[in-house]
Subunit: 685 residues, 2 copies
């Protein structure tokens, strides 16, 4: 919709009223122009007038005759208007005076109107060069521009918890500075004022934000806190708190009156913390205003800075892993899996976190509860931030309880008016590597999430508030895929990305029934029709073993699998278009699907695309395919497709512990990755 | 925020799977390309292959080798992909066939993969040239562009009531076609399809909208209604109703399956009605999709049209009046006023509507209950639409009861969670004439509304939902003024616009205490200090008479008035900047203000800017100023300022009937004006 345009509440050209025989006192801020209608006060017998500028100073006075465009002096509508300004570089703040002398035809001065000005220098300053320095009156401070040539200050959502011994909530839930590390997460802002010893009585110097923004940021007066601390008070005992923001007082505060002014240029330093990510009703930009007010409420001058809230960013499989997560179930139920999993992590040379039963409470689906991303301020280390799914099963307390902490943020979205469904799990939320589409670049890729078709009335979709949140981050514009055809309904059941030498630097891997039937047919043609697949495996207490020929002859399985191929192909076409891929960027991995009774489709054997990708080390669900020449033919096929790309395939046994429960390796694990080298504010739109 | 990008749910390039020895049947829509991976099905001993296009037809087949960028055939990643398309102009819809023949080194064909295509032509069409004609497959139909060179179809919010004898609600509250006049308010849309006699069994031809849009429009199948009517059923008995929209069934419907197909090009005609104006959560554009679905839900082809909802538009004082409204109070209480008022209306040569006591229920503030605007479709007469204020006093039932009707629409915004305050009255809502500001043109002016400063915590503002509505209309971007300093708090207490010869074609009139004191001083200097103002008038039972000298000596009144001058000057500066005005465009009318106890400011004598403007005829509150040389000196002053502009001043006595109740002529009246000649869709952003 049409953005609600920002409007300044004080003009740079301000109307003042003078009177003959009177000295009028007015405030003038350096850079501002005062404007006064002389014709309305000119004595009747005046034939000319003079302007006399009293005191020394950089005062400019110009007088113009103003009448409606294209009209002369007819109808008495021409006005004589004087414009008075004081140069912005003026170092003098002493009283400045202008006298308008009205002279009659005999040369006598028949009246004098005097304007006495109290001059101020005032500036609200931020770091809009994104170099860690709060500049002085940067002309760009009131606007925000994307790109490497752009400008504009940035705020971080301060949602880590530096005071983690005392609290289990992200810091934006409180309004104090939890020590120096907390301060590190905030941006600096300065008020610089030079003016008279005291403000005129009915004047205020007021910092303020729009009512809509008062829950989105919190501002601390660092200079004031420092002064009080210098007076011997311990920081935490100060009740140091927001001067503007949700916890500034009993109610959220929108404004704060500054005590001032010094005749030398005083600087008051502020720290600003972000409290909310961009969202449906918040485009991410925040304005902070500094107004000089007359009559307590009427602004006579205004300075404005703009911040943009750093978005939450997801990390694709092509970024280097830092640490991996998985769950250990009670009674060592998934010990085989964990042992295989550890080997993959070890090969990747990263840390592994095994979440014990008392923390996972029987919930093995580590992928589904959380998505690990980050947020970043210029010149600072990016802060990892976990997005907590509305799913909330056994792992519900894990993200806040174990991840949230110093320099590890937490965010969630949940709408209690909607039912949670399986598509809300974050196995259904991925992000592509960087791509270029029709000349538009997505340097941090595009978010991918699974949905129902909008054409269907009763389809499952990810919770609206989560989708709104993802779209609002802007820097990884989402692509909605079709995943509702699957029983569980997660996009990681049919797709993943792997890093790869050459090409675009990655490949899209898709589960493919067609590829599987091609492979099975070839094996049969080569004389292996009787070889058993899934040897020694059971399903619902019965043997899962089937020969290649038997699989090929199962017309139900084939019909169901090829219908799934159809659904996957639909997603293939969407991704080709929305991510700018062609067939050369896509690799089909053999896979069969079956329809679970009334529940949609599921993998018929361990779903190989549902892998964990740790750099070049892949942890792939072990398919238990036909053993030919001493090797699983499915594994051989996958190796032949992926190893030429410089990848190493580790096959992880998840048959009993995950596959039969309708998930696989990816579903049961999670990965924290290095942030992009690319800085999000350098993105171009 | 980042717009949620529109995403097609079906690609123009669609993946299909072929197999050797198999004839695969697929649907192809003219204009679409099918894409198939031949390498995955190529028999091992193949050395070459041929493409044979069976039947006659405009079929194009091209085969490409696709490998990741910059990579050769290493790693077996090169794919041979065939692209098949049928020319869009193809007139034949017979089955089309392509055979891929795989040949071994001895020249023998060792396998054939056959693709049999059922070709369709399908198109969803609207009037995107804005000329009243539904074009055929206009390439612009999927986008919307502002401006005289722009394009894009338009919907009207169908909020009049053509069935007014039966209902008292705007039509969008029902879902039927209330006769031919109702149909006139709707836009046309056509589905054109040429294809096989019947759709393949699992296929659907489905029209659909996003779930968000299902309450914003309603679609009727006119062809179907016509067919049934031809079968002898009376229109109103058909239960003719939305096929998509809020009242399509028990629940709002998002989709509709079309019965089709004819071998000749069949056309099905639809009527689309708008139901909601653009608003905070609705940018005004609506997309309607037509999808060809496979497996009942999976789109294989998609066509999309876009509509924009015609905004609600306000009419400034510079537009010609059509009719005027005022209230007659019980016991002829305001008969003097009405007689004076009628004279102004008579001079303007327009109709006057005197709302009798049983309809106004003691509420004389006709300006405050409603704002009269309009909406417009290309090629049709603009439809007047009343915006009903959330104020709701005695006149509450007037807009629905007396204005809503055939070709007179009704809209309101109200939030029961907010308290109504005096700033919600539409004396606080005006619109400027067309203006140009720093090179940006506002050909329909800018909406003006009064607010509190955002710096104040407890200030009054217009109800959020009303402001959101006004901003969302886009074509008259609002400017918020400061009116909370006034007790009643309406911007019409200190400003109005009048048409005027020369210049920008209008002048801004501002109430001015300074101008009033200048005038009073001049009168005193000329020896009229003892002349009485407000002669014979009373206030709270006491005489209101005061001499010029007495007024000049009242230092309280002067201090209060000059503080008000300050507040008005602040608004003057905002309007100069936001409307691109200079002093030559502004005329100060003499006025004094006083502070009502604890309630803010109010006019001290009848507030002359609070006038009704009917073309060049002005109905100005009679100020009862000092009689000098047989004429009121205030009137003389105002005449001297306005009559040179070609305006006629009528002074209307509203002292007892409005002024003492804190309102004036403008507050007590309303005006319906001619729409702009300028068409809103020609606006440029």
């Amino acid at each position: 919709m049409a953005g609600r345009g920002f409007m300044q509440w004080a003009a740079n050209c301000r109307t003042v009223r003078l009177d003959v025989g009177v000295a009028t006192s007015e405030i003038i801020v350096l850079g501002q122009t005062l404007c006064t209608d002389l014709s309305s006060i000119t004595p009747e017998s005046t034939v000319t007038f003079h302007t006399v500028v009293g005191h020394e100073g950089d005062i400019t006075v110009s007088v113009k005759n103003e009448s409606p465009e294209g009209m002369g002096k007819d109808g008495g509508v021409t006005k004589m208007v004087a414009y008075i300004s004081v140069a912005t570089h003026s170092s003098k703040i002493d009283d400045k005076e202008v006298n308008f002398l009205f002279v009659d035809k005999s040369g006598d001065t028949i009246g004098v109107a005097t304007l006495r000005m109290t001059a101020f220098y005032m500036s609200l300053d931020v770091d809009c060069d994104r170099d860690g320095v709060v500049e002085k009156n940067n002309p760009n401070k009131g606007s925000w521009q994307w790109g490497p040539d752009g400008h504009g200050a940035i705020l971080l959502v301060n949602n880590d918890c530096d005071d983690y011994l005392l609290e289990m909530d992200p810091e934006h839930k409180n309004s104090k500075i939890d020590g120096p590390f907390d301060l590190e997460d905030m941006s600096r802002m300065a008020v610089r004022v030079r003016g008279p010893e005291t403000l005129p009585e009915d004047c205020r110097l007021r910092m303020w934000v729009r009512p809509d923004d008062k829950e989105r940021l919190g501002i601390f007066n660092l200079s004031d806190i420092e002064k009080r601390r210098a007076g011997g008070v311990v920081l935490d005992e100060l009740g140091n708190k927001h001067i503007i923001g949700p916890k500034a007082g009993y109610l959220a505060q929108v404004s704060y009156d500054l005590m001032m002014v010094r005749r030398d240029e005083g600087e008051t330093l502020f720290a600003v913390e972000g409290l909310k990510y961009p969202d449906k009703d918040f485009n991410g930009t925040l304005r902070i205003h500094l107004s000089l007010l007359k009559n307590v409420t009427v602004p006579v001058f205004e300075d404005t800075v703009i911040f943009r809230m750093a978005p939450w960013i997801m990390t694709p499989n092509t970024l280097e892993p830092i640490e991996a997560f998985t769950c250990q179930m009670k009674k060592s139920e998934n010990l085989d899996f964990i042992n295989d999993f550890k080997k993959v992590v070890e090969a990747a040379g990263i840390k592994v976190n095994i979440v014990p039963p008392y923390e996972n409470r029987g919930d093995r689906w580590m992928q589904d509860e959380i998505e690990l991303g980050y947020s970043e301020l210029p010149g600072k280390k990016p802060m990892p931030v976990v997005l907590d799914s509305p799913r909330d099963r056994g792992l519900q307390k894990f993200p806040k309880g174990k991840l949230l902490g110093p320099d590890f943020g937490y965010v969630t979205r949940y709408d209690q008016n909607e039912f949670v469904n399986s598509l809300d799990s974050f196995g259904n939320l991925e992000v592509s590597p960087p791509v270029k589409v029709d000349g538009r670049t997505y340097p941090m890729g595009r978010i991918l999430l699974g949905s129902a078709f909008p054409t269907t009335k009763y389809g499952r979709r990810m919770m609206r508030v989560v989708r709104d949140f993802l779209y609002a981050q802007q820097v990884q514009p989402p692509v909605e895929l079709f995943s509702d055809w699957l029983g569980v309904g997660h996009i990681d059941e049919f797709m993943t990305f792997v890093p790869a030498a050459g090409g675009k630097g990655f490949r899209l891997l898709l589960a493919s029934p067609s590829a599987c039937y091609n492979l099975l047919r070839k094996l049969k043609n080569d004389g292996h029709g009787d070889v058993l697949c899934f040897e020694g495996k059971t399903r619902s207490g019965e043997s899962a073993e089937r020969s290649i020929s038997d699989l090929l002859d199962d017309s139900n399985l084939k019909a169901e699998s090829l219908q799934c191929q159809n659904d996957i192909d639909w997603n293939r076409d969407v991704m080709k278009r929305e991510l700018g891929l062609d067939e050369g960027d896509i690799i089909d991995l053999p896979q069969l699907f079956q329809l679970e009774d009334g529940k949609g489709a599921g993998a018929y054997f361990p779903d190989m695309v549902n892998m964990i990708v740790l750099g070049k080390q892949l942890g792939i669900p072990k398919p238990f395919g036909p053993m030919i020449d001493g090797a699983c033919a499915f594994e051989t096929n996958v190796r032949s497709l992926l190893e030429p790309l410089g990848l190493t395939c580790h096959f992880v046994n998840d048959w009993d512990s995950y596959h039969l429960l309708l998930g696989e390796v990816h579903c049961g694990s999670n990965t924290r990755r290095k942030p992009f080298d690319f800085k999000w504010w350098n993105m171009k739109f």
